[in-house]
Each structure stands twice: as C-alpha cells, then as structure tokens.
Symmetry: C2
DNA sequence: TTAATTTGGTTGGTGTCACGTACTAAGTCC
DNA sequence: GGACTTAGTACGTGACACCAACCAAATTAA
C-alpha cells in the first residue's frame, strides 16, 4: 500500500516498486498535480473532472452520475456549485420534460481549455525525467491498461 | 483533460491517448480502485493513506502533515477520526513534551494489512489485460517516473 | 384508459474532509 | 528573563458524498 508522495532520496537507479506500488504512487502524484491545476482556478478535482466530461457531451444528470460514478444526489450538488460559479448551465431537455441537459457556459468552456493546457504542462513535467522513448512507451502501456480496464 | 473512467467500447487495438490523458485516466482508475478497497472497511482513501504511512513510521502530527501534504489542522481531524475508530493512538513523545507520536493500534495494523492485500488484488486486476512483459515494463517506467518526480 | 411502475431529478440530513484563524504550551535563542 | 519559534488543538466554514424520502413526467400493464 503505497501512500507516500513526499520527496524521497533520488535513487541513482530507480528500484522497481512492483506494479501495485508503482501505480498507486503514480496515481497520487498525478492526482496531486491535477489538484494544483484546479486550485489555480479555485476549483476542486471533481469540478475539473466535471468540466472535462462536459467538453464533448451535454448529458443529463443521471448520465453524468454514471460517468463520474457518483450518486445522482451528489451530482445535483456538484452542478449546483458549478452553476453558481457560472461554469455550467441547466437547460430543459427537448425530449423529456423531466430531464435536464447540462451544458458548459462560455466561461466554463474557457476554464476547461485553461485547465487542459495547464494539466498538460504539469503532467508532462512529472514525466520530465523520462526519455522520449520511455515516455512514449509509458503512454502506450497506460493507454492499453485504461482501454482494457474500462472495457467492462 | 481526461476525466472519464466509465466503461467505454473496447478498442481492438487501444489508441494511444498521449502521455497526459493516459496518465490522468489511469490515475482516476487507480484512485477508484483504492476508494473501493477503503470502502470495504468503511474507510476513505485518505484514511487508507494514513494507515499506509504509519506502517513503518511513528511520526508526529507535523511530520504526518508533511507526508500527506496536508495542513496540520487537517491532520488533527484526520487522526481524531482514525483514533475514534480505534485504528491509531496518540502517545506522548518521549523527547518533546509538546509533541505526540501517532501509532497504529493492533486493529489498525490488521486493517493496514487487509487493505494492502486487497489493494494488490484490485490493482493487479486493473492490469490483467496486460501481458507479463508489458506489466513489468509499466511497473519499471512508473517506478522511474515516481522516483524522478519525487526527488525534489 | 386508468392504475402501477419506472425514470429523472431535487431536498434534507449526516458524516468526512480540508482550510484558515486563533489559541495554548513547551522548547529555543539572545 | 523575555522574544521567538515549534507542536498541537479548537472552532467556524465550505465542499463533497451518501442515503432516504419525495415529486413529476414517462412508460408499462391491466
């Protein structure tokens, strides 16, 4: 159970932590980077994630809940707060009079773009110690894992 | 800004998401797995992390705050809740009468072991679609990245 | 075509978590 | 001795997540 993201001694040759610890530590590292990105705009990671999902979708609340793996009541609150900040809008669904379409506002879209850029910078910085080939290999492997693990 | 962990179509050949999106998505995947592991014992990810740090340390509150990158007042609350659950104990420091040593209780140690095992299972399951060689390569690359990025 | 059920969403209550500010007590430095 | 720093707590606030209960619209059954 690898839980430590605080600076450690730089090993001349990095010891292999094993698949479990290395992925867990990596995830804390990346999440920390994303948290800092979001914090620059006064947002949380979950708000960043919300904006990310809405970049190419106009889902209802239920669908949003599935994407974010949250309870629907949690999504109500999440969207409430994002709406209060002027980042998203609730529009009535044209198909279903009960339902709602959640949409990015212009401000929200601008924020999403800024976050995306900054996240790119920060994550690339994390991988700065890797060589080009290593980085490419890591990207491929991570992509493969993600594809395999999310394909139900 | 890759924010989606919900199931997607399984691509015959996984497209490379790029280093940024692949690492971000991977981090959400791993954090989700850790959240489920913790939830099985009625804990949160940060509590899991706390137990992980305490496996091989008996830090003071300040030191704990540094390890977890939290404000010291946040650590007070965190340890309060863990103590209330019987997982950790506050002992007076022998060196400094102001300070405290945070220690795992027997119950806490048992929980840490259980979490560790289960996290291993779940993370290995995530990587189940990778071949042995791929998994080993990913582990090495992730280890290298972590070592490089945490070495101040 | 009513009646029963499912679906989409909100409300209200509870607990966790993180922060900032303010505070006490103990250690350290002149 | 007094000034300053360090270790930790207390308190108030806000974000976040869940559950249970609820309403209204949509769908299915009778």
């Amino acid at each position: 159970m690898p839980t430590d993201t605080a600076p450690a001694d730089p090993p001349a040759q990095a010891p292999d932590l094993g698949i479990v610890d290395s992925l867990a530590q990596l995830s804390f590292l990346v999440q920390g980077a994303l948290a800092k990105v979001a914090a620059e705009l006064g947002l949380s990671v979950i708000q960043l994630r919300l904006l990310g999902v809405l970049r190419d979708r106009e889902p209802g609340m239920q669908e949003l809940a599935r994407h974010l793996e949250l309870d629907k009541s949690s999504v109500t609150g999440l969207v409430d707060r994002a709406e209060r900040r002027g980042l998203v809008r609730r529009a009535p669904s044209p198909r279903d009079r009960r339902a709602v379409q959640v949409t990015l506002t212009d401000e929200g879209r601008a924020a999403a773009r800024a976050l995306e850029e900054d996240a790119g910078r920060r994550i690339r910085a994390l991988a700065a110690h890797l060589g080009d080939e290593q980085r490419a290999a890591l990207s491929r492997l991570a992509s493969t894992l993600v594809a395999g693990a999310t394909a139900v």
